[in-house]
């Protein structure tokens, strides 16, 4: 079976290379048969990559330990879900997953472009096939997932116990969907540059792809944070680790892109900027992959040192050079169709938003690579860790939240004074009253008060905006309020979906600020029957139990949790497990979540019957995960197909694009 897999990969690599060349040649020499053959090649690559993936999965599930990848990352006592997840636990398998996903997206693009975007399609297919050929080359020539050892080990090494968490199933996969997904808008941007069809067509055609990739990258990060929170046992969720940063940066730049393309779609401006942003997003995706696989920077995420790094670096350099070259070549044709009407307008706030988002991405990038710079320049190793990133990005994020509140209040093109005052007054009053409440509630830290106030401001502008719309509908269409709300959102899904996403982001921000600023921590060493107090809870250590399972030994401590009034609210059992193949014990945190706060107990150690505990009370953490759900919901609404789109052609968000796109070949 593995031989079939390996053969499939080799053939897939050859066909992907062929398809890339044939697609470009077919478009250039105007040979429809060659173009068609390239498109079929792309479908064949998807089929072959699928066969290879099934082969690896089969090897893992059938415990074929002679395959070194199977030996290194799985064992026969693992449950099916974790066996499946060991597919992407190592370098080779995760590269195969990348390639398989990209081949699938490529096939979807081939399907989508069978009638639309005929001019762009050959180059889109070519770019996807070039990227795919690179990843296939990696699994064929450098990191072979099907490599067989001489001997047959009786048992596999198994998954690192830290990875045995549902997070291992969802976090890498969602993140990869996001990473890989950005290849498609990037490919369209390249195609637009090559063909010179530089209006908004490539943007409207990839709007869903971009939002899809952006959503998954965001959720992937959030799932990673959640996993770190429940598994790593240090009470936190985000450590500004280089690899975390690497997946955060493309998300930030893509967020900037999602906003600035609206200006191009409405006003035909910022063409160079938008193309640059999507190019940068894709390069940052590659950079993240490079960091994970090169071992240049130490991280909990890295796969360990490997030669893959240099190939990725070369690929990044080639991508940048080719992309920038194309961009410069097309600069004369990337003139704006319009001018800015007014200094104070929605356009300006979007540009400011872009400045801040790219600014944060730059700060994160610079902080991440600065240890390398320091070592080159001064020969001194330094650490750039959480205090740096928190201090530098917090004020910029705060400014972004303020902007998030201001932006919907300012109209497109030109904001009048009356319009500004009318729109600002009510949110401003709500914010002032809310700030008073925060202060009365005993929140005295200036940063927290300001952040909460700004979150409230941003949320209230959205609520007022929606209320205004609902009331207008209620009046004019005499619908009841619920129906009015539903039809308001339904009739302008991108806009209200966007607002819902903003609410999600605000909830996440509140969760982050509250939990990092008001975290309470206590440690205690207790004998059975003894108690400790933390943040209104009394925890009584009852007993310790020990039980071995087939592959590990588990030590659990039982704690009774009482609230202020002495009522027992929970029994919690923090634990530590020792896997037979790994020396270090794995902490199994016990968490009791409420909407208000999390009680987070770590079993730190024990001696005879005395046990040591670290306990945290993390306020409002749960709102980060709820915010993630809201973000998901908002994005789904924003991308939900609108039957009116079909009638209108693609998605011209304004009459401006409708005029611009008039007469083009879109069905």
């Amino acid at each position: 079976m593995t031989e079939i897999g390996r053969l499939a990969l080799i053939v897939a690599f050859a066909i992907a290379t062929y398809s890339a060349v044939a697609s470009v040649a077919g478009a250039h020499l105007n040979l429809p048969h060659l173009r068609m053959s390239a498109r079929r090649g792309a479908l064949a690559v998807f089929g072959l990559a699928t066969i290879a993936s099934i082969a690896l999965l089969y090897a893992i599930l059938s415990h074929d330990f002679q395959v070194s990848y199977v030996y290194e990352y799985s064992a026969s006592d693992m449950s099916i879900p974790y066996l499946v997840s060991s597919f992407w636990a190592g370098n080779a398998g995760s590269l195969l997953l990348w390639a398989w996903m990209l081949s699938m997206f490529g096939a979807v693009v081939v399907y989508q472009t069978r009638k639309q975007n005929r001019e762009l399609a050959p180059y889109v297919v070519a770019v996807v096939m070039i990227v795919l050929a690179f990843f296939l080359a990696m699994v064929v020539f450098v990191a072979d997932p099907f490599h067989r050892m001489a001997g047959v080990p009786p048992e596999g090494y198994g998954l690192n116990p830290l990875l045995e968490n549902p997070g291992m199933i969802f976090h890498p996969t969602t993140l990869y969907v996001g990473y890989v997904g950005f290849t498609i808008p990037f490919a369209f941007a390249v195609a637009a540059l090559v063909t010179g069809r530089l209006n908004s067509q490539w943007i409207t055609s990839t709007r869903r792809w971009t939002l899809f990739a952006w959503l998954f990258l965001g959720l992937g990060n959030l799932l990673g944070a959640q996993w770190a929170y429940v598994e790593l046992g240090w009470g936190g969720y985000w450590a500004w680790d280089p690899i975390e940063n690497a997946s955060f940066m493309p998300w930030l730049v893509a967020t900037a892109y999602l906003h600035s393309v609206m200006i191009q779609q409405r006003r035909g401006m910022l063409k160079v900027w938008n193309i640059s942003l999507i190019g940068l997003t894709f390069v940052l995706v590659l950079f993240g992959t490079f960091l994970t696989r090169s071992g240049v920077l130490s991280s909990v995420h890295s796969f360990g040192e490997s030669v893959l790094g240099s190939y990725f670096l070369a690929f990044i350099v080639v991508t940048i050079v080719a992309f920038v070259g194309l961009l410069i070549y097309r600069l004369p044709r990337l003139k704006s169709d319009n001018q800015l009407d007014s200094f104070v307008s929605r356009e300006s706030t979007f540009l400011l938003n872009n400045l801040l988002l790219v600014g944060i991405a730059f700060a994160v990038f610079f902080g991440t690579v600065f240890p390398l710079i320091s070592e080159w320049v001064r020969g001194v190793k330094i650490t750039v860790g959480p205090p740096f990133f928190n201090q530098v990005t917090a004020p910029i994020f705060l400014a972004l939240i303020v902007l998030m509140g201001i932006c919907p209040l300012i109209s497109w093109r030109r904001a009048s004074r009356d319009n500004l005052i009318r729109n600002f007054l009510r949110p401003f009053v709500v914010t002032a009253v809310g700030t008073g409440v925060f202060l009365l509630a005993g929140i005295r830290d200036a940063l927290v008060v300001v952040t909460f106030a700004m979150c409230l401001f941003a949320a209230s502008t959205i609520v007022f905006e929606v209320v205004r719309g609902v009331r207008a509908r209620h009046r004019t269409n005499s619908q009841n309020y619920a129906a009015a709300l539903a039809s308001l959102v339904w009739r302008n899904k991108p806009r209200y979906g966007g607002y819902i996403v903003h609410i999600g982001v605000i909830l996440i921000a509140v969760g982050i600020v509250a939990s990092s600023m008001y975290k309470v921590e206590a440690t205690a060493t207790l004998a059975p029957g003894e108690s400790m107090h933390i943040g209104g809870y009394t925890l009584t250590y009852e007993n310790m139990s020990y039980f071995p399972t087939e592959s590990r030994e588990v030590v659990t401590a039982t704690m009774s949790v009482y609230d202020d009034s002495g009522r027992k609210v929970a029994t919690m059992t923090p634990a530590k497990t020792f896997h037979q193949n790994y020396d270090q014990g794995v902490t199994e945190v016990a968490i009791r979540s409420t909407l208000w706060e999390d009680l987070y107990i770590i079993l730190a150690g024990w001696e005879s019957d005395v046990a040591a505990f670290s306990v945290y009370v993390n306020p409002l953490v749960v709102w980060m995960w709820i915010g993630g759900g809201v973000l998901l919901m908002g994005t789904v609404i924003a991308v939900w197909p609108d039957p009116r789109d079909k009638r209108r052609g693609l998605r011209p968000s304004s009459p401006a694009t409708r005029v611009e796109q008039g007469g083009q070949d879109e069905a």
């Binding site: 009470g235 400045l355 610079f366 205090p387 319009n419 005295r444 200036a446 921590e521 005029v659």
Partner: protein, 162 residues
């Protein structure tokens, strides 16, 4: 109405600053976010639960009891383990670069954006005069342009009324 809002804001701000806590004594938890654990886990000391981390915390506690300042304690760890013992570089010398450059980039970008917007919006005024004299879009039928303006105005009215 507006005035009362300002008064309220002022009162709240005064309350805010009056409530800021006075200078508190140095504790171990003030320090452990700024120092890296030295067990090889590449984690900040604060969340680390290993034996090395516990020893380091004890050491910091002793140094605080001896009356050492924050800078002295950080200096000790730098001398002992090198600059990478600090969880973030100190804001001086070459390392100042990493602290300043992101903000400098945003300021420069912001200034660029400001002048660019100014130039654009003033060009638009000049263009408006030009449009009044003769349509620069000779090849674009006037009716499309007119329709666009009408629809856009209507769109804006809807936009504002919502």
């Amino acid at each position: 109405m507006k005035r009362s809002v300002w008064v309220l804001a002022l009162v709240l701000l005064t309350g805010l600053f009056a409530a800021t806590p006075a200078y508190a004594e140095l504790t171990v938890s003030d320090m452990e976010g700024e120092i890296m654990c030295q067990c090889g886990c590449s984690m900040v000391l604060e969340p680390c639960r290993c034996g090395t981390a516990d020893q380091m915390r004890t050491l910091i506690g002793e140094m605080i009891d001896e009356g050492q300042t924050k800078q002295q304690i950080l200096g000790y760890f730098v001398a002992q383990y090198g600059e990478d013992a600090l969880s973030a570089p100190q804001k001086k010398g070459f390392n100042l670069l990493v602290w300043v450059l992101p903000f400098a980039a945003i300021v420069v970008g912001g200034a660029g954006l400001y002048f660019w917007l100014r130039r654009w919006s003033s060009q638009e005024e000049a263009l408006a005069v030009e449009v009044a004299l003769e349509s620069p879009h000779g090849d674009e039928p006037d009716k499309y342009r007119k329709r666009f303006e009408e629809e856009f105005d209507q769109f804006r009215r809807e936009d504002d009324s919502r």
